[in-house]
Structure formats: C-alpha cells, structure tokens
C-alpha cells in the first residue's frame, strides 16, 4: 500500500528541487498575507464566513431542495449522484445522448475526486482539460498536485519539453509567455469545436438557483458559452443561502488563494442561453456521512482556496502527489479518511500539527485539531501500523501518568548520554532525518526543584 512517508521520501531525493517547491509555495502564502493585511476587517470576514457556513450545514437539506426547485424553474436539469460512479454514469449518459465524442472541461476538483477522465476515456470520449496547469498535467498523464496550482511541481523547462513533444513548439523554448500563447492557440481550437463543456461550481445560491464559477483564465466561460451543452458538477456542500453571501466569500476566496483581490472572472449562471442545454450534477460521495461526524463536519465548510496547502510545512516539502488522493494537503487529509479509512490512514499523520493551516483558513476550519482527532479514530479502529499505534498508545499512557512520565524522561536522557546507538538507529522512525539532541543531565522538573531548594 502506498503511503505518504514513502512517497515524500521519493519527492525528497532531489533536495534543490524540494527547496524550490517549498519557496514557491511560501511566496504564494506571502502574497495571501499581503492581500489579507490590506483588509482591516479580514478577521471579521473570516468569522462571518464561518458562521454563514454553520447555518448552511445546519440547514443543508432544505437549502438543497430550494436550490433544486429554483434551478429547475430556471430551465436547468438537476441530477443527483450518491457516489463517484453514479456521477460518472450521469455525465456519460448526457454526453452519449447527444452523440458527442469530445468534450472540454475547466477545473473541477470534484471530477478529479470521481476519476471522471479515465472513466470517459475508457468509454471512448475525449476529454480536454482547458485550465493551463491542468492541461499540462493531463499531457504528462499525471493528476494535479495542487487544487489551485495543478502543476506547481513542474519546471518551465520541463513544460517546454512537454509542449515540444505534444504541441510542436520549438525545442528548448521555456519562456512562460511563449508557452502560454502556444497553449492558448492549441486550446482555442477545442473551444471552437466542442459541443459540450463541463465546469465545476464554486458557489450555488439556494434562493435563486444560480451558480458561480471563478477562473482567472476565462476557460470555464469560453467552454460553457461556445458549447451546446453545459454540465456543471458540484459537491453538495457548495450551497450558500443568498446572493449577498457571495459578497463575503468572493472577498475571501482569491485573496486566500493567490493574493489577488478577486479572480478575473466570477460568472453567475442562472439560465441556459437560448438554444443551449444546462445540467447540474449534485454529488454526495461521502459528504452526508462526513456531515454526521461531529468532529469532522466542519471540513465541509471548505471553499477550496488552498491556503492551507501553501502554508503547510509538510505539503511544501512533500509535494501534492505524496498524499495519493485528488485533494492533497491538510484539508485533503481530513476529507480522504472519510472516504476510505484504510487507504488514507497515513494522511492525518502527514502533519506537524503546527496549526498554521487553521490560522489561514478563510472559513476558520479547525484543520489541525481535526487531523489530531482523526489520529485517535484511526488508531482506535485499528487502521494504523503496529509501530505507530504502539508508539501512540505508549505516549498517551506516559503523558497521562506523571510518575511514568518522569521515569520515561530519566530513561531517555540516560540512553542519549550513555547509549546513543539505542536511539540513533534506523528502527527509530523519529531519528530518520533528524539530529538527536545532546541530553541534559536533569529534567526541567529536577532542575526546578533543585534550584528552588538552593534558593531557600
């Protein structure tokens, strides 16, 4: 079974590259900070956003029904998918009912989560991802490594080589402007010929039945407005009650994601254009189950800005693919075990629990606390490897018993001073990649007691 530690080890083979990855993401995080600081009411916005989502989660079934009713009144076809398979089947049926063989798709992490592309390809449908970053990873036959910056792990020279191979650009040209223009020309052909376009959904408004799609590239709009059929796929947690709530979320989303004041386009789709057909697929795929998990339901507030990725010291130094799931990073590590505890039991451990994610999250999800809670659940349910589970159980027994704790401390210091090989060996997973400290003679407690006595 793949796990985060092994995959990160692979990613860490090339140290300068890891440093570059780390610094690039930190730079994005800093842009977020600068944007947030320009808004004096930033913290207030985060609180309001979080509490709007509290209301949404507590009233979700009613809002979903209201959204459906209004969308239908707007002339939009509404479909419901209990899981990924049903989602994929619905999409395929719409495509096939029009006799279409090739579609364009703008960024949708939900379709990644459902593994739609391989499914459609298996059914002889050509899918062209039109977001530049997604097109790059698609040509490279890889999944995106980041939900906002899909090819953040790629160097421009490598993209130059990839485009040389697939788009026929001159070998050795790695100029971002040149390559972007080449992709623009390449994808325009698809926009102009596609009969069906798929998009994701950033927000769906219950009271009007409209949905909002945000992009910088304009690819969602190019696809949707030039095609005869538009399919928009959304997770059922994307609902917000009214238009005015967009004011809050659109102020937060792009600033948190890339430090921009807003994305270039925030398009509000309410009714299909004349002669056009519009579909919405509302997907559960584990979300209703997560809603019932008291400790984890807040993860459904996520607006997919990726601020928690960019700030995470583990993500920055292990790369998106090490999470082996469509949505990587801290939030992905909370969402994935809900879908499959066995396969993703490693992910809540891929964190230092430093709390930086929770500090930047625009909807104030207690991300690091949820990661910590998942660890308890996974150990309890027996999904964690023997070494880790023994270590965790021992640690909790030691930490909850003062005399055991003191004994353990004395033992540890004695070992590090007198028999360091017992700690500094390859069986101690903690020692891997870490220097063990020189151990002091006394614990803080011993030092404190001694000094207190001396002073008297």
């Amino acid at each position: 079974m793949v796990n985060h530690a092994d995959l990160s080890e692979k990613f860490n083979v090339d140290e300068p590259r890891v440093n570059w990855h780390d610094e690039t993401l930190w730079w994005v995080r800093q842009k977020r900070d600068r944007a947030a600081k320009q808004i004096p009411e930033w913290e207030e916005l985060r609180s309001v956003a979080s509490s709007i989502k509290d209301n949404v989660l507590s009233n979700l079934s009613e809002y979903l029904a209201e959204f459906e009713k209004n969308a239908k009144q707007n002339g939009v076809h509404v479909h419901w998918a209990a899981d990924a398979d049903e989602h994929n089947q619905i999409v395929l049926e719409i495509i096939q009912s029009h006799g279409i063989k090739s579609i364009v798709k703008s960024k949708s992490m939900l379709t990644e989560e459902c593994h739609l592309n391989p499914f459609l390809i298996k059914n002889n449908i050509e899918v062209v991802d039109t977001d530049l970053g997604e097109r790059i990873v698609q040509l490279a036959e890889e999944p995106p490594s980041h939900i906002v910056l899909p090819c953040i792990h790629w160097k421009k020279e490598e993209i130059g080589d990839l485009f040389h191979k697939h788009l026929g650009t001159p070998a050795g040209n790695a100029d971002p402007i040149f390559l972007t223009r080449a992709a623009r020309a390449h994808l325009r052909k698809y926009f102009l010929s596609a009969k069906l376009a798929m998009t994701g959904v950033n927000f769906a408004i219950a009271s009007t039945g409209e949905f909002v799609v945000c992009t910088n590239e304009g690819n969602a709009d190019m696809g949707a407005h030039l095609a005869d059929v538009h399919i928009a796929c959304m997770g059922l947690e994307k609902i917000i009650p009214e238009r005015k709530h967009l004011g809050v979320f659109l102020r937060l989303l792009a600033r948190s994601a890339t430090g921009q004041p807003i994305t270039s386009y925030s398009s509000h789709f309410r009714k299909p254009a004349e002669g056009q057909e519009m579909h919405i697929v509302i997907v559960d795929n584990g979300r209703s189950r997560q809603l019932g998990r008291l400790d984890f339901r807040n993860s459904l507030k996520c607006i997919r800005c990726a601020a928690c990725f960019n700030t995470c010291p583990v993500y920055r130094r292990s790369g998106g693919h090490s999470y082996h799931t469509a949505i990587a990073g801290p939030i992905g590590s909370i969402l994935a075990p809900n879908l499959d505890m066995r396969n993703y039991a490693d992910l809540p451990f891929a964190s230092t629990l430093c709390g930086s994610c929770s500090n930047v999250c625009p909807v104030k999800i207690d991300i690091h606390q949820q990661l910590y809670k998942w660890r308890q659940v996974l150990v309890e349910e027996g999904y964690v490897t023997k070494e880790k589970s023994v270590a965790m159980k021992t640690m909790s027994s030691v930490l909850s018993n003062p005399s055991k704790y003191r004994l353990a401390g004395r033992l540890g210091r004695w070992i590090l001073r007198n028999a360091p090989f017992l700690a500094k060996n390859r069986w101690n997973l903690w020692f891997k990649h870490r220097e063990m400290p020189e151990a002091p003679k006394n614990s803080f407690r011993e030092w404190y007691l001694e000094n207190k006595v001396n002073k008297k």
């Binding site: 690039t24 009411e41 509490s51 709007i52 209301n55 989660l57 507590s58 009233n59 979700l60 079934s61 979903l64 459906e68 419901w80 049903e86 530049l132 970053g133 790059i136 910056l149 899909p150 090819c151 790629w154 160097k155 390559l179 972007t180 223009r181 623009r184 994808l187 102009l192 910088n216 590239e217 304009g218 690819n219 709009d221 190019m222 949707a224 030039l226 059922l236 238009r243 005015k244 709530h245 967009l246 004011g247 809050v248 102020r251 890339t258 004041p261 807003i262 270039s264 386009y265 925030s266 398009s267 509000h268 309410r270 009714k271 509302i282 559960d284 209703s288 189950r289 809603l291 019932g292």
Partner: protein
C-alpha cells in the same frame, strides 16, 4: 428510493440542529476616493483605466491603439465608422476574429476593480471572453466600495447570466510567472465616463 431522496434524507438526518444565519454587518473604512482606488487596483491586476469626458475621446484613444482594419464590435451605443454594432443574427463562433469588444458595465467595484456585466450588455455571452482586447465603459459615478455594496446594488435583479470581470484573463501556471492573456482577452481597458 431515488438517489435524490436518499441523499436528502441522509443529509437531513446528519445535519446539526439549526444555527441561525449570521447578519453581514461589516463596516469598511472609506479611506480613499473610489475612482482613484478603482484605477489603482485595476492597474495592479494588469488592466488599464482612465477618466474620460466623452465617447469621442474614447474613440480617439482606441484609434491610436488598434489597427483600423481590425474587427471591432460594440454592444450598446453605436460607433458609426469605428465599430460594428452587435447583431443577434450571427453564430457566436463567428466572433473568433474579434479584435476589440466594447461593452458597457453597470458598475465597478473599487476594492478589486471588478465590473459587473449582465448578459444583455454582452450581446453574446461569449463576447467578453473570446475577443482579443476588451474595452469596458462605466459611468463615472457608478463605483461602489466593496463586494457587499455590489450585491446590495444587484439585489434581486433578474439576469440569465452575469459576470464580474476584473482585468484581462491571466495565468501563472508556468512557474508562477504571471502571463496576461490566457484564454480570454489579452488586455482590458476601462473608461470611467463623465456624465455627458
């Protein structure tokens, strides 16, 4: 039971007890003149903007910037001899070679330089995206401070499709280098038109 009913009942039985909706009561400091803030932010996101007195002035500026033979299309007021007027008789795919599209927005938002455009102001929905260069005219008085004000303005107005446009299309997917002109317009130019 259909998937719909199964999903809705699972959601219903798992959702927490009702939490009232929060009021949006956010006070914003109005520290800067809205026009100058709008123009400053627009520039920072790769757009260009200026205040003008008349459409003649706009035409003069655009004539200097764009080849007279390039295809220009306008929605709203007419620009005889300069830009063709939008006609519903064509297929949107024929907009492929439009060099410049001139549209009129309802209002602009100072905090992020977005302009609000509804479908009736676009002619075709595809127009503001498929053109190479986008020109947007906004009445000088129609600038709001924040997105909260924007949605207050929009209220319950009807539209079939509408969008906020902020600057040209862009991407930074290649090593985080910002490139203007991804799939939509390569440039975006805004004119704040003084009351004629």
């Amino acid at each position: 039971m259909s998937s719909r009913d199964k999903i809705l009942s699972a959601v219903k039985s798992n959702q927490p007890s009702r939490v009232p909706i929060a009021e949006i009561n956010i006070t914003v400091a109005d520290d800067e003149d809205l026009k100058s803030k709008y123009l400053r932010i627009l520039e920072s996101i790769g757009g260009k903007g200026q205040i003008v007195d008349s459409c003649d002035e706009i035409q003069k500026i655009l004539s200097a910037d764009f080849d007279p033979s390039s295809r220009k299309i306008a929605v709203g007021r007419s620009w005889p001899g300069f830009a063709e007027s939008f006609s519903a008789a064509i297929d949107p795919h024929q907009l492929e070679n439009v060099e410049v599209a001139i549209i009129e927005a309802h209002f602009a938002v100072a905090e992020n330089a977005a302009v609000w455009v509804t479908e009736d102001r676009m002619g075709f929905r595809a127009l503001p995206f498929i053109c190479q260069h986008l020109v947007v005219i906004i009445p000088e008085q129609h600038i709001v401070a924040t997105m909260h004000d924007a949605y207050q303005f929009i209220g319950h107005r009807e539209y079939n499709f509408a969008t906020f446009i902020a600057g040209p299309s862009k991407t930074a997917d290649i090593e985080q280098s910002l490139v203007l002109g991804a799939h939509g317009p390569i440039s975006m130019r805004a004119f704040l038109l003084r009351q004629e």
